[in-house]
């Protein structure tokens, strides 16, 4: 299995679109019930967004909760989160992060190629400012997450093969 290095974003617009889409995914995902007061988005690895995420979700609410954006350089630094945006350089690190996210019912998102095929839930690629979404539905169900049909309808969906 070969992990590909995440491509650099072509321009600021695509980065901004990614930042926007991360929040929009939340509208189509249902998490297990929790009593946490904040909706937490954690960026794991290199922060491509600079301050864009903070600006975008400042004073915003997702799932009727105020949004809190956190940044973690390593997996050890990741606290409880609802969305884990994984921007790690190595495939092994990303796999660890995927396992971690699955154990803690986090929605894992990445722009890395092969992310969904390797157990990540949402792989997001921006091509000419248009989103290409791949969803590993089995991984979402294993994480205790439910993804709404409208999102599934526009995405390439990976499902566990029936025995």
């Amino acid at each position: 299995m070969t992990w590909l290095t995440p491509q650099s974003y072509a321009n600021d617009v695509e980065t901004e679109l990614t930042a926007v889409f991360i929040g929009r995914f939340a509208s189509y995902v249902e998490w297990p019930a929790s009593e946490h007061r904040h909706f937490v988005i954690t960026v794991l690895g290199e922060n491509l967004f600079d301050a864009k995420l903070d600006q975008l979700y400042h004073n915003k609410q997702i799932k009727d909760k105020p949004v809190k954006v956190r940044y973690a350089a390593t997996l050890n630094q990741v606290a409880r989160s609802d969305i884990l945006f994984i921007n790690l350089q190595t495939a092994s690190d990303r796999l660890s992060a995927i396992h971690f996210a699955r154990q803690h019912s986090m929605l894992s998102i990445s722009t890395a190629r092969g992310f969904a095929d390797n157990g990540g839930i949402i792989q997001l690629n921006i091509v000419e400012q248009k989103a290409q979404i791949k969803i590993n539905h089995t991984a979402a169900l294993d994480s205790g997450l439910k993804i709404a049909a409208p999102l599934l309808s526009i995405a390439t969906v990976l499902r566990k093969k029936q025995p």
């Binding site: 889409f21 929009r24 509208s27 248009k130 989103a131």
Partner: protein, 420 residues
């Protein structure tokens, strides 16, 4: 209007009923057709709204992630609806994310629709979740619906469809309306033809009766009517008028045929009746007689007792003559103190019996011209019998003969009779 005046009442009624019904039908049809157009256009627009709602719901995710490919797939499902002319999805920057245009639609036509749509959007742009734009033209209708994500507009969905279904339904309705109207008008005319008789028949009956009365002069006719409405009143008035005419005729007839003083037939009427009696007698070869009576010394009575007594004498003499003659004899006053009795079916002997009875009754009849003052009158009588003069056919000659016999009785000393 002049032409209408020349028409018979029955046709006027038919035209009136037909026009009234026709106008009522026309107005109701116009209202129905207008209402149908509004309902149908509203219904078609509602269908387009529902389709827009469904598409926009499906389009939400595609717009949220700027996914043109998914948007195109969703719009491609419109292919199943042959009435959709154009569908466009734009993002919140106004850029077209995807559009659908059926293959059968000519590019030129599609361009026209787009330009019309742009014009509409230029004038108004929906900003609220429940704010829709809709526009209807004779050949197309369109809905512009904003697509919202998390309460924020992320694009718009525009659907344009043709109005073929609406016009098809409308045409069907108008056709049905025309058929229904034609049937109603036919029924109306049929009923008008039937029911006009309710109004015209009594009038026609009345006209017919009036013509009959005018021709027969039978003013004793009584018109019967089963109606309980104004026609009954009309018939009653007409019957009342006939009674008035009959009474007037009776009075005129009496004035024309009767002597006002004595109540006997006057000379003119006597001549007419005498003519009839004599003609019949000659036809049946039955004998008849004329008795001419002239009061004796009547001038002296007038001069002595006055004209009032003279009139009384004439009236009393008339009564005596009437009582002396047979029931079917004609008694008439010919003028002054001269009277005539026409005895139908009477031989000479019968005439003589009547003449003698007159003399006897006059002698027995005292006339009280003042309280306690009485007088008797006598008369000279000339008797003419057809049996004695079979060759005579002229009434004037017969009267002259009776008159001559009467003067002969005068010459013989009065209060007697002579036979012509």
């Amino acid at each position: 209007m002049a032409m209408l005046n020349r028409l018979a009442i029955r046709y006027k009624l038919i035209i009136l009923l037909g026009l009234s019904g026709g106008f009522a039908l026309l107005i109701s049809s116009l209202i129905m057709v207008s209402s149908m157009y509004l309902t149908q256009s509203k219904s078609s627009m509602q269908v387009l709204h529902q389709l827009t709602d469904v598409i926009s719901e499906n389009m939400q995710a595609a717009l949220a992630f700027n996914d043109a490919s998914s948007a195109s797939k969703i719009l491609a499902s419109l292919h199943a609806n042959p009435h959709i002319l154009l569908a466009i999805v734009t993002n919140n920057n106004g850029q077209i994310l995807s559009q659908y245009q059926p293959n059968f639609l000519q590019a030129e036509r599609a361009q026209i629709h787009k330009q019309a749509l742009e014009q509409i959007l230029k004038e108004r742009t929906p900003q609220q979740p429940d704010q829709l734009l809709e526009h209807i033209q004779p050949d197309w209708m369109g809905v512009v619906k904003p697509v919202f994500f998390e309460g924020q507009a992320i694009g718009t969905l525009t659907l344009l469809s043709d109005t073929q279904i609406m016009w098809d339904e409308f045409r069907k309705f108008v056709l049905m309306q025309i058929l229904a109207s034609a049937l109603t008008v036919a029924l109306l005319l049929f009923l008008s033809l039937k029911f006009q008789a309710i109004f015209t028949q009594p009038i026609l009956n009345l006209i017919s009766s009036m013509r009959t009365v005018a021709q027969t002069k039978n003013y004793r006719t009584v018109l019967e009517s089963d109606h309980k409405d104004e026609f009954k009143h009309l018939y009653e008035v007409f019957n009342s008028m006939l009674v008035d005419i009959q009474e007037r005729d009776d009075r005129l007839f009496k004035l024309a045929t009767t002597d006002a003083l004595t109540g006997l037939a006057n000379r003119h009427h006597a001549m007419e009746l005498m003519n009839t009696i004599i003609n019949r007698a000659q036809r049946t070869q039955h004998p008849f007689g004329l008795i001419m009576v002239d009061l004796d010394f009547f001038k002296t009575i007038n001069d002595t007792y006055g004209h009032q007594t003279g009139d009384l004498v004439l009236q009393e003499t008339a009564k005596v003559l009437h009582d002396s003659a047979r029931e079917y004899d004609l008694v008439a006053r010919m003028g002054g103190e001269e009277f005539l009795i026409v005895c139908d079916d009477a031989p000479l002997q019968t005439c003589i019996v009547i003449a003698e009875r007159i003399q006897q009754n006059l002698a027995n009849h005292e006339i009280e011209y003042a309280p306690g003052c009485k007088l008797n009158v006598t008369a000279s009588i000339g008797v003419y019998s057809s049996a004695q003069n079979p060759a005579e056919t002229s009434i004037t000659a017969m009267l002259s003969a009776a008159d001559a016999a009467m003067y002969q009785a005068k010459s013989a000393g009065r209060n007697t009779y002579c036979v012509a």
